[in-house]
Amino acid sequence: MTAVAEAASTQAKPRERWTDNKWVQRAIVWGALLALYELLAIILGDFYLASLEDIVSGFGQIVEEGRIPTVLTSLEHLLVGFALAAAVGIPIGVAMGRSFVVDQVIGMYVRGLFVTSLAALLPLLIILFGVGFRFQVAVVFLFSVFFVIVNTAAGARAVPRQLMRTAEAFCVSPTRRFTAVVLPSSLPYIVIGLRLAVANAYTGMVLAELWVGVGTGGILKNMGQNRDLPKFFAMVLLITALAAFSSYLIRVLEKRLMPWAKEVRAA
């Protein structure tokens, strides 16, 4: 191999102990948390918390009762809303970051809505879209689009000027400069925006369904009202796991799209 790789490999290689393994560390921390929870559940009793065994059997019941297809329908709304947010948010964000005029014209609305409590808009959205598919998608969209816009704009603003000038010096046309410099340079910010957005898309999805009592949120509402805690906790955990998995998928995408970042970390 080369001098660079050699230098890197000889530099940091202290002897590894079994406790250095991240899965060992996780098992310890998670195990401790679960034990603590179980203890709390025993102390408080099943009126307030469901014990771990109950949650596991609650999950079985959810599957038996045929709740999974409902969750999948909710996920479909989420996916459509999130895809729309990305498709709309990234171009707007880039335009805001690269153009002073665009930033002046729409920036204040974006920043304004970004800090507004979007939940307060739900009644208005019901008036506009009803309570069906369009409403669910609209809520997910609104809950996620501003994170995409704001982060993408920050990335587009942070494109190093020297690199733009270098591209100009090598006669790269303005449109090519866009794809050759602006987009790759903003990519890390865009990905962060998407990850924040997907987490909020889940919030939006559940909130919209809770509001009108349909889908996954509707199930949660019923379970809560009936004090069916094992199933309720199992459902919440399922949604949390799905959200974490979505965020993970975006990280995988990030590594595929930005090989240079990974190689740099490895060096």
Binding site: Q162, A167, F170, C171, V264
Partner: protein, 265 residues
């Protein structure tokens, strides 16, 4: 003359809190450069050397006077002039070879032709083994060599170098200077080389143009008639030391002024 500067001037307008301030960085710069010669421009920091190079390249326009290449006025960047920057300015998301291809993309070359040309130049700067690396994985000297290959790959008539070795350690700098001399001898481009390092200027150039501190003016134009290839013998020659002393004396007064001014830029 191949490259001509005709009383070129440039003033920047600084926006202060309540008023605007005019800063004259270059004033009445006139000189010509013959085809195939190596000219170094040497001056204290803040004397407008880098601005001058950007004007020659066409990235910025002069407020006064004009710049001509082969009698044609410079108004925009062109692939006829290749630029090597002070900081390598490589695209972090492109591999080394893709960085070298940057300027070739604007030329009407087939992909295969661009690739083979980039490979050829990467080979000439001794980095063919690193084609698939990312810039951040290379040392400072290697990054600067990629920058040089990128500028040479477009086959420019004029190579413009803006303190390309300024940020490198002393040993690497000397090695790269020798390498540049070798490449220049083999390819005979016209080179305009900006530096604040007198030794570097004397080692490389046929001619050293000495500038004063702000506003930048030409205070001397010194011919360096040493036989080529120069290599290390020239650095040790008595004429080298003599010229160095001469230029240092010229720069000294201006340098002190610049130092005082740097406190309040």
């Amino acid at each position: 003359m191949f490259l001509e500067l005709d009383s070129v001037g440039r003033t920047f307008v600084l926006e202060r809190r309540k008023h605007t301030e005019e800063l004259c960085v270059l004033e009445g710069i006139s000189f010509g450069v013959a085809e195939g010669s190596f000219v170094a421009i040497c001056g204290p920091s803040g004397c407008g050397k880098s601005t001058l190079l950007r004007l020659i390249h066409g990235l910025q326009q002069p407020d006064a006077g004009e710049i001509r290449v082969r009698g044609e006025r410079v108004t925009a960047p062109s692939l006829d002039r290749g630029m090597v920057f002070q900081h390598h300015n490589l695209m972090p998301w492109r591999t080394v070879i893709r960085n070298v291809e940057l300027g070739l993309e604007a030329q009407k070359l087939s992909k295969a032709e661009a690739r083979s040309r980039a490979e050829r130049w990467l080979d000439k700067v001794g980095l063919s083994d690193f084609a698939s690396y990312y810039p951040a994985q290379l040392s400072g000297g290697m990054q600067q060599r990629v920058g040089l290959a990128r500028a040479l790959a477009i086959d420019p008539a004029i190579l413009l170098m803006d303190e390309p070795f300024g940020a490198l350690d002393a040993q690497t700098r000397v090695l790269l200077q020798e390498e540049l001399e070798r490449i220049w001898e083999a390819n005979a481009k016209t080179v305009v080389f900006i530096t604040h390092d007198i030794e570097e200027a004397l080692f490389l150039a046929d001619r050293v143009i000495v500038m004063s501190a702000r506003p930048g003016r030409i205070i001397a134009d010194i011919a360096v008639d040493a036989a080529r290839p120069r290599r290390e013998q020239w650095r040790a020659a008595p004429e080298f030391a003599q010229l160095k002393g001469e230029i240092w004396k010229l720069l000294r007064s201006g340098q002190q002024e610049a130092l005082l001014e740097e406190v309040s830029p």
